[in-house]
Amino acid sequence: MIKLRNIDRYFDSKFQRTFVLKGVDLDVEQGEFVSIMGPSGAGKSTLLNIIGLLDEPNAGEYYLLGDPAFQLKEKKKVQYHRSHIGFIFQAFHLIDELNVYENIETPLIYRNVKTKERKALVADLLDRFNMVAKKDLFPSQLSGGQQQLVAVARAIVGNPKLLLADEPTGNLHSEQGEMIMKLLKKLNEEGMTIIQVTHNEAFANYGSRIVKLVDGLIQEDYQVKK
């Protein structure tokens, strides 16, 4: 599903070039649940952003779903974001002006999904995440765990093939974190490919595979033993 070959990402400052990613190769198959780990500044977020088409590599090749995905046009990227990729962030990043219901509904609106269908999909998710009673609240009125739940709902409402999560539990206390991880695992079991970045060993083990990144290089890449 994802094929990265020899990916370089660097930043030029006045006097030097700093490599964030150096010759990264990575393959992720459909249905996998990959946890990316590594020290701070190792380039994890950068890698995830490249996979999610939020950033572009300076060199190397990237194939997403079999198509070359480097140097895409803006329009094409929007298409991918609409139909194939969902995002979850450490800081939730919900849309402040919209309430829970609207936050989950928005991606469908941009996708021109019909009203009736939209209602059904959102109601379904609210039900599943036990958020029906909270649907009229605004993000600022929710706890962190609840916000992240909404963020997950929003990310998956369009039924993406790939879910990218950058430290989804980073701002949550462990109980809430666990709830989110269980949710992700369940989604994975239902067939969704997931790549998450995490600092938490235990949460990493919810996945099927762990990739360790240090100084822009993949140091370890192994399957989680069940």
């Binding site: 950033d55 929007v78 995002f87 849309i95 002006e97």
Partner: protein
């Protein structure tokens, strides 16, 4: 989708309340000032448009030249045209001719002087249909006429005017056939009475058919869809047909058609009726009004993009969940529409409430004007739609370009914003300089030595009852003798026209000085006065003598001014005294008995022209000018009134002070200057908002840097100083743009005046200093808050 967009727009406007309010405030300022300007501009552009089919109406202008040199370029043309056009040009739907005169009207023992009468041809109402509230307009027979509502009230009070007879100029009993509703104030036809000119034909003053010598206003109304060019060709054909006498004198004549809607703007035409407006000042005003609005939108865009920095994450998130750039643009468009419509509503309400206050403040007869319905709102909506479109497109492009890696947005567009604020600052300085120069010119005009002293001179309208009186000169003299017997009164004279007034048409004359070989070619103005002329106005007698006290001493004696002296070909005043000159085409010898200094008979817009005074009592009522000692003014005025009432029992005393009367000529300049003051205040306010927005933008961008500097030990004052340095360097650049532009603009404006103030350097210095101080204050106040904040706060969010 629409619901999402509107909900988001409303909520985000509410969320960023401070920004929204500042934006709203700026837009309301810009729109309100624009709205009032449009109100005035529409008024000026709607002159005469209330007449039915006004777009098909033309006035015939007349031009005569001799050997290529124009002799006459005016609004008046021969009455012969009227019949010729009527009978020979079928494409003309209707035509009419008219002559304007200030007349004396008598009704039941009360005289009314200076009544504006338009003597018109039959069927004149086919060209200019009036709104009749009683009776009909009928000019088909002699001695028929109509009267305006207001004049009817003054003359007849509660009586029904229709069918009553009023006496015009003591010899013409006119029957009133109808009363017309007062015309809107924006018309060039300022008459209060329309009377059939056949009255004059009946009296034998002129022939039935009219001659080809000029003096009348001719109007035509074209049939719908007919080109005026062909008719004009035919009209010009009349020159050869009916005016062969011109060719005998090597003169050429031609006619042209002046669209009715342009009458109000055309200057430099002789014999115009109604006041003209200075077209270039009006255009300036339009430009200024548009700029004010433009500035307001620049601010809106600037503040929005500054705000987008804070909102970039939200915008990125929308894109991440699938919003295209168009979606994001729609979002900003919605916010812009909501804000603008809101501002528009507020502005419109302000406009509705203060419409009349505005008219009073600027002394414009807007309340009585005809404003085509819907025009103002339409213009406004169109302009606002454009504004919304452009501002949201710019904003949309900005949003689309925004780098959308979450949390790592780069700040772009700073340069452009700086440029825009620079333009705003430059405009503010330009307005400020313009306002100051306009004021300087007005005060220059009001304070310049006119060559005469108007302070202390009272101008009375000559008594209308004297007009038909064969003893008028004696009666005047009796009045003068008595009033001068009082201690407060120093001197008095009669005049045909007085300072501060454009000389009445029939005082235009050409003079020849055969001895000096000077034929003619210059227009002189021949006034009348008695021996009181010199002392009343404190004119200098440069050579020769004043008129004698008795009229018999002065028969065919004239005084001339220096300008006339030069035109007549004399070297110096002494040389001219005792010489003879002639009116063109007249053999009466006029002896120059004295030469007086040049003075300004009219405002400083106009140059000094040659003037000649004879000693004849005015042909019509004219004016009495009386010099009074201003110490006991009230007492003197009471004396004047009682003496007047004793001598002229049938006439009301009607007076004004000469200096005030003279300054009336600067009314239009004063009005424009008031406009400019307000627009300047507005533009500075709006530019300050713009600067504020830029600072906010700039501070978000440099938040971290400021924090770091402070951690490294910089004091808040140092940081404020640093920020000021950044800002002020471009304010200086805006000066560099503004100074030459305003210098050029004001230089051009001053060209309108024959006598002008100079563009002093200090005007520029003061304007620069003022804008500079406002800018420093704004920057310092806003940045002080950021600079005095605990640096850790800024650095904490990474």
């Amino acid at each position: 989708m629409l619901k999402l967009i509107i909900i988001s727009a409303f909520r985000s406007l509410l969320k960023y309340k401070q920004m929204s309010l500042i934006n709203l405030f700026g837009l309301v300022l810009g729109l309100t000032s624009f709205l009032f300007s449009v109100y005035y501009i529409v008024y000026e552009y709607s002159f005469d448009s209330f007449f039915d089919k006004s777009e098909n109406i033309y006035r015939i202008n007349y031009e005569v030249s001799k050997q290529g040199e124009p002799i006459y370029q005016g609004a008046k043309s021969p009455r012969g045209l009227f019949h010729a056009i009527r009978e020979q040009i079928p494409e003309v739907e209707a035509n009419g001719c008219a002559y304007f005169e200030k007349c004396q009207v008598l009704f039941e023992d009360t005289y009314y002087a200076n009544q504006d009468i338009l003597w018109v041809s039959e069927d004149f109402e086919d060209v200019f249909p009036l709104d009749m509230i009683a009776g009909v307009a009928d000019y088909s027979a002699p001695r028929l006429g109509i009267i305006s509502e207001t004049a009817a009230k003054a003359l007849f009070h509660d009586k029904d005017p229709v069918g009553r007879i009023m006496e015009v100029n003591g010899e013409m009993p006119i029957e009133i056939t109808g009363v017309f509703k007062d015309m809107p104030s924006n018309t060039h036809l300022t008459a209060k009475y329309f009377v059939s000119y056949k009255t004059w034909v009946e009296m034998g003053i002129m022939g039935e058919r009219g001659d080809w010598s000029g003096g009348w206003w001719n109007y035509i109304k074209m049939k719908k869809g007919v080109s005026k060019d062909q008719s004009l060709q035919k009209i010009n054909g009349f020159v050869e047909m009916y005016m062969p006498f011109l060719a005998d004198d090597h003169r050429e004549a031609s006619f042209s058609l002046q669209p009715l809607k342009d009458l109000h703007f055309i200057q430099g035409i002789d014999g115009e009726m109604g006041a003209n407006t200075n077209y270039s000042s009006l255009i300036n005003l339009i430009v200024v009004a548009l700029f004010t609005l433009f500035i307001a939108w620049i601010n809106y865009v600037n503040l929005s993009t500054a705000q987008a920095q804070t909102r970039s994450l939200q915008i990125s998130m929308r894109k991440l969940v699938g919003a295209s750039n168009i979606h994001v643009w729609h979002q900003s468009l919605a916010e812009s529409i909501i804000l603008n419509l809101f501002a528009l509503t507020i502005s419109f309400v302000i406009y509705l409430i203060f419409k009349n206050t505005f008219a009073d403040f600027f002394n414009i007869p807007l309340k009585e004007a005809y404003i085509p319905p819907g025009n103002i709102l339409l213009i406004l909506l169109a302009i606002v739609a454009l504004g919304i479109l452009f501002s949201s497109i710019y904003y949309g492009i900005y949003l689309a370009r925004m780098n959308y890696i979450v949390g790592k947005d780069k700040v772009k567009g700073g340069k452009f914003k700086q440029g825009l604020v620079m333009v705003q600052m430059a405009l503010s300085i330009i307005f400020l300089i313009s306002t100051m120069v306009v004021y300087k010119q007005i005060s220059f005009m009001k304070n310049k030595d006119l060559g005469i002293e108007l302070n202390g001179v009272i101008l009375c309208t000559g008594p209308a009852s004297l007009n038909p009186d064969p003893q008028k000169r004696e009666k005047y003299q009796g009045f003068k003798n008595e009033i001068l017997s009082f201690a407060g009164f120093e001197s008095a004279t009669f005049n045909v026209f007085v300072p501060g007034m454009e000389p009445i048409g029939y005082t235009q004359r050409e003079f020849v000085n055969p001895e000096q070989g000077v034929t003619s070619g210059t227009v002189y103005y021949e006034n009348s006065a008695d021996d009181g002329l010199i002392n009343t106005y404190k004119i200098d007698l440069l050579a020769g003598n004043n008129f004698g006290i008795s009229r018999r001493q002065n028969i065919n004696d004239v005084l001339i001014n220096q300008n006339a002296l030069k035109q007549l070909g004399f070297e110096n005043p002494e040389e001219a005294v005792g010489r003879w000159i002639f009116r063109r085409g007249d053999t009466t010898r006029l002896e120059i008995i004295g030469v007086v200094n040049d003075f300004h008979n009219e405002g400083l817009q106009k140059p000094i022209y040659p003037m000649v005074w004879n000693n004849n009592y005015p042909f019509e009522f004219g004016y009495f000018a009386i010099r009074v000692n201003t110490k006991n003014l009230n007492e003197s005025l009471a004396q004047l009134k009682s003496v007047w009432n004793r001598h002229f029992t049938k006439d009301e005393l009607n007076y004004s002070f000469a200096d005030q009367h003279f300054n009336e000529q600067y009314k239009s300049e004063s009005r424009y200057s008031k406009f400019y003051v307000w627009l300047t205040i507005l533009s500075i306010a709006i530019a300050t908002i713009g600067l504020y927005g830029l600072i906010v933008f700039y501070l978000t961008k440099r938040d971290k840097e400021i924090g770091l500097r402070k951690v490294n030990g910089a004091s808040a004052i140092q940081v404020v100083g640093l920020l000021n340095k950044d800002f002020l360097s471009w304010i200086i650049i805006s000066f560099v743009i503004a100074f030459p532009v305003s210098w050029y603009a004001m230089n051009t404006w001053l060209e309108n005046f024959a006598y002008k103030t100079n563009l002093s350097w200090w005007v520029f210095a003061i304007a620069g200093m003022a804008v500079f101080s406002i800018a420093v204050l704004t920057v310092s106040l806003k940045s002080w808050k950021a600079a005095s904040r605990n640096p850790v706060e800024a650095l904490r969010y990474e």
